[in-house]
């Protein structure tokens, strides 16, 4: 038994060198395998989630993402929706877009972004303001995140 344990120990120790070689030489291969096997992605809380709707406006387009309420287990009661405009060269000074989060008309609001000042506002159909989380100036255009409460019309 002692001999067997010693042999296994030595085998594992030799294998450590092989593991190091495989870790670096096969890094790209294993990375791809790992991603395809786990289907892992970056959290929509970082990326803004999938684009749900694209509106063409001639020189530029608006991309409205799906509402993001993703939490550790299930969904959270608070979230956000991200709206992108691109390309940067085709954008007018003031951008305005009607947004229906998740396609729900009762949740609709209008987001307005002044690209000169970088200020954004969001207002519902009766003119009440919605909290704007962040305004981002991207290389490709602009993005705005508006905070949402789940199941609650603005």
């Amino acid at each position: 038994m002692k001999r067997l344990r010693a042999m296994l120990g030595y085998a594992w120790a030799f294998l450590a060198v092989v593991i190091v070689l495989a870790t670096f030489m096969g890094n790209r291969y294993f990375s791809h395998k790992f991603v395809s096997a786990t289907k892992i992605t970056v959290s929509p809380r970082v990326t803004g989630g999938d684009v749900a709707k694209v509106s063409e406006h001639g020189n530029y387009k608006t991309m409205i993402h799906r509402p993001v309420f993703d939490g550790l287990i299930g969904e959270r009661s608070t979230g956000f929706i991200q709206i992108d405009w691109e390309p940067v060269d085709g954008l007018p000074p003031v951008l305005e877009e009607r947004v229906e989060p998740g396609g729900k008309r009762e949740m609709a609001f209008t987001v307005r972004l002044d690209t000169r000042s970088g200020a954004a506002t969001a207002k519902d159909h009766v003119g009440s303001g919605l909290p704007v989380d962040q305004v981002y100036k991207l290389r490709t255009g602009w993005a705005v995140r508006v905070l949402l409460q789940k199941g609650k019309a603005p």
């Binding site: 939490g71 550790l72 287990i73 299930g74 959270r76 009661s77 608070t78």
Partner: protein, 213 residues
């Protein structure tokens, strides 16, 4: 029933908010499963007390004051800061495995008699997390202020508590880890670190509240 369903549907979020406080409490104390269960129950008791207090507040003061800009932040910020000072002292400056509450509050509470505050950390933590204005709690608050009477407001919060408490059932088993002395030390230090975080949160809320009032 509305409160219970709200509690069940939001229990996971409650656990997410409360775990960083409860787990260090569980690890820092001594004893076995029964003691861990007791700590969890006392923590939940503190939460229940916090909920019922808000039930009373929701009924007595009514929606306008609680929703008035600033007051909510002032109250919660103050509670956070008191809890955090207790946790920091408990975690970093107390060699025994008991709570440091006496050092903080003895001046205030001495006249009240010889209450053993050293054992009150689970209740205090539970009370403070009970008063935590996390999203599900705000939902519950919003729903309860619409109730007409004190009894219905209290009942709503009681049912909300029962719904969320279901998710705390596995917690005592985590406490079994504390039989290893190292885990108790780690638990205490983690409680101190959580305290620092809550102090920051409380301070930010308090300052925000002062600005708004």
């Amino acid at each position: 029933m509305e409160g219970f369903l709200l509690g069940v549907s939001n229990g996971v979020i409650c656990v997410a908010y409360c775990t960083p406080v409860l787990v260090p409490c569980l690890l820092a104390g001594g004893g076995g499963l029964s003691r861990s269960t007791a700590v969890t129950l006392r923590f939940l008791g503190g939460r229940l007390l916090g909920y019922l207090l808000f039930g009373v507040v929701a009924w007595a003061i009514g929606r306008p004051l609680l929703q008035a800009a600033g007051y909510r932040e002032l109250i919660t910020g103050s509670v956070y800061m008191v809890l955090s000072v207790m946790l920091v002292l408990f975690g970093f400056f107390n060699d025994s495995h008991s709570c440091s509450a006496p050092a903080v509050t003895s001046l205030v509470l001495k006249p009240l008699g010889r209450i053993r505050l050293s054992a009150l950390v689970p209740e205090a933590a539970g009370l403070a997390t009970g008063l935590n204005l996390c999203p599900p709690f705000l939902l519950a608050l919003a729903a309860s202020v619409e109730k007409g009477s004190l009894s219905s407001s209290l009942f709503f919060f009681l049912m909300f508590f029962i719904g969320t408490a279901l998710f705390f059932i596995p917690a005592p088993f985590l406490g079994l880890l504390k039989t290893v002395p190292a885990f108790r030390t780690v638990g205490k230090l983690a409680a101190g670190l959580i305290g620092l975080y809550y102090f920051y949160s409380g301070l930010i809320m308090f300052v925000g509240g002062i600005k708004s009032v």
